[in-house]
């Protein structure tokens, strides 16, 4: 794991790492850096799909609930309105759709990030505390095909890292 001091350095280093052929790379920063996730080769996230799924399910559920209760099971005449009064069903369909879409966003993001994950080997590195404050890290995993203990260490130092540490699994 290599530590850098500025976003520019870490993004440049990440791109160099990717170009050198490393693929099992993680990068860490205290705030989102768009260029960084692209540099390590991560392009498509699927959160939008879970949101869409949640939204459609919620809307369908809201519709089904109202249709069943107002048209089939408890059909009462309220002010002469038709039993299948779709316009008056719309607000609740909308709300249940949004509710489940929001669950989709939050849970989708959390689950796809494999959270909650209270323990991770990188926490064992003492300077990693700064990952949430003011330092930027690149970590090359040892199961990367191009990984070589000494070679990778020299490579990272060559990229301008302030400190390179080994992470115990």
């Amino acid at each position: 794991m290599a530590r850098f001091e500025t976003p520019t350095e870490v993004v440049r280093a990440a791109r160099a790492t990717h170009e050198a052929g490393y693929r099992k790379v993680n990068a860490y920063s205290p705030f989102p850096i768009e260029e960084l996730s692209e540099a390590i080769g991560f392009h498509k996230d699927h959160v939008s799909k879970t949101v869409l799924l949640g939204g459609l399910t919620g809307a369908a559920a809201g519709f089904a609930l109202q249709y069943f209760t107002s048209v089939i099971d408890y059909p009462i005449n309220v002010g002469g309105r038709p039993l299948f009064s779709l316009p008056s069903f719309v607000p609740i369909i909308f709300e249940t759709g949004i509710l489940l879409a929001a669950f989709g966003a939050a849970l989708g993001m959390i689950i796809m990030n494999n959270l909650p994950q209270p323990y991770h080997p990188v926490f064992n590195v003492p300077s990693f505390k700064r990952a949430s404050r003011d330092a930027f890290f690149i970590c090359i995993k040892s199961n990367d095909p191009k990984f070589d203990q000494a070679g990778t260490r020299n490579f990272l130092l060559g990229l301008g890292a302030k400190e390179v540490t080994d992470v115990e699994a």
């Binding site: 520019t8 996730s37 408890y74 609740i92 509710l99 966003a105 939050a106 990030n113 404050r133």
Partner: protein, 479 residues
């Protein structure tokens, strides 16, 4: 209003979005230290004490209400809805500014929302909690409130989904839930920072659980940004729909003064108006007492004043339109309703409303006043009161004199109406004080994104960071 300044010769005359001279480290310390300090500040304890006393008044009022019934309030026939619904709509309206700041300003790429969004969103949550008390407790038999929810029951009945009162149940619960989710998701990275900064093991454990092991992994950030943007995109129509649905409580009714199609946009604008006034009412003292002037800068204050002015004008337009409808409709009842509002027994409330909501805020047209914190604070208090009066005018004045003169009655609130109202203010302030002390008020990671040193230099030549560059080219969070 993007903050990109590519031409170095141009100096942005607007005050900066963030004070100069911060590093990632100093920014983190300034915000996190508030939570980690060992002693409790006297001012905070005093404020919390008063707020909690009021909250106790609330709990007493609720207990007495459930024991004795809605008769302890001033509600009567024909004024079946009074302080209970006025306060409900008032609180919900206040909540909407938080979501607007968090969600809508994010979608509009206004980076100045980055510092105020967390406490505005917290304000939303607490306001919605206070609001939610009223529909739950005003039902007369609050112990059977669960009948409002569609569950299979032995009575063979289902709720009437064609009613705005049911739509309200779904809208307000969805709004509370989604706001809580949005707020919590926004907090996760900062809980990670707190976990890493905490000295005591019990603090580390609590923040560790809350942060769910967040480590700032770049892939995680990518999904996080997606989820955050999507949640903002969902919350925006949610805000608009919730207050529209609340307005339907009235506009679906047939009495003059209620049965108007202008209500949804008029209410939503009014909610934003009231909400920004409350954000300023809370924000101005908070930034002073916690020395956050570098994060909640004059730029924020000025922008919020402008939003207030704009929404105030929309509300004023709404009032004007009501006058127009009354006259143009030629309908005796509408016309009487308007005359009654202005010259009837509660006429003073109407004129007070015009003063508070329309006249006083026009002070904000003057630039000097937009930068004078005392003036802004006073104006925002006027608006808070004015928005309460607006709901009074709409609800009580239309109810107490509708179609048939024989049904006309006067309404007067009782001490319990007031005690419950001030009690909810106490509950709100208690929750705010607790929030200010135990949760980082300002999102640290969103602020870091705005620092000049956060920019990734694409060119290979070294960039010269001019200290004087106001709000220089910064990456927008959510780009």
């Amino acid at each position: 209003m993007a903050d990109n300044i590519e031409n170095k010769g141009y100096v942005d005359p607007r005050p900066p979005v963030i004070g100069p001279g911060y590093t990632f480290e100093s920014l983190t310390s300034k915000i996190a230290d508030v939570v980690f300090m060992r002693r409790f500040q006297k001012g905070w304890l005093f404020g919390l004490g008063i707020a909690f006393l009021l909250a106790l008044v609330l709990f007493n009022s609720i207990a007495y209400l459930v024991l004795k019934g809605v008769g302890i309030w001033g509600n009567n026939v024909p004024v079946g809805w009074a302080f209970d619904i006025i306060n409900f709509v008032w609180w919900i309206g206040i909540g909407h500014a938080g979501t607007l700041i968090s969600a809508i300003l994010l979608l509009l790429r206004q980076s100045w929302r980055n510092s105020i969004n967390r406490f505005a969103e917290a304000m939303t949550l607490f306001a919605v909690a206070c609001a939610g008390l009223y529909p739950a407790l005003h039902t007369g038999r609050p112990w059977v409130d669960y009948w409002l929810f569609p569950y299979p029951n032995t009575m063979g009945m289902w709720p009437n989904f064609r009613s705005p009162l049911m739509w309200d149940v779904f809208a307000v619960s969805t709004y509370a839930t989604v706001s809580a989710i949005f707020w919590f998701i926004g907090l996760i990275p900062d809980f990670g920072t707190m976990r890493d900064t905490a000295k005591q093991p019990w603090q580390r454990r609590i923040f560790g659980i809350l942060s769910m092991g967040w480590r700032g992994d770049a892939r995680h950030w990518h999904r996080y940004e997606s989820a955050y943007l999507l949640l903002a995109g969902l919350s925006t129509p949610l805000v608009l729909s919730v207050h529209s649905i609340v307005s339907f409580d009235f506009s679906v009714g047939i009495i003059p003064g209620w049965h108007a199609t202008i209500f949804p946009p008029y209410f939503v604008a009014g909610a934003v108006y009231a909400g920004f006034a409350m954000v300023l009412t809370i924000g101005i003292p908070v930034r002073k007492f916690y020395n956050l002037e570098d994060f909640i800068t004059l730029r924020h204050i000025r922008n919020m004043c402008k939003v207030m002015l704009a929404t105030g004008l929309i509300v004023g337009y709404g009032y004007l339109m009501e006058l127009f409808f009354a006259w143009y409709s030629g309908n005796t009842y509408e016309q009487f309703m308007m005359k009654n509002r202005m010259f009837g027994p509660y006429g003073y409330m109407y004129w007070l409303l015009i003063l508070c909501n329309i006249l006083v805020p026009q002070l904000l047209w003057v630039k000097k006043f937009r930068e004078n914190l005392l003036v802004i604070f006073i104006v925002s208090m006027f608006i808070n009161v004015g928005m309460w009066l607006e709901r009074f005018v709409i609800i009580v004045m239309s109810l107490h004199r509708d179609f048939l003169p024989s049904s006309w009655r006067m309404y007067s609130p009782t001490v319990f109406d007031f005690s419950m109202f001030f009690g909810t203010i106490g509950l709100f302030l208690t929750l705010m004080f607790l929030f200010l002390r135990f949760v980082p008020i300002i999102p640290m990671f969103e602020m870091k994104v705005m620092l000049p040193q956060a920019k990734v230099e694409e060119d290979e030549k070294a960039a010269e960071k001019e200290k004087g560059t106001l709000g220089g080219a910064v990456p927008q969070f959510g780009d």
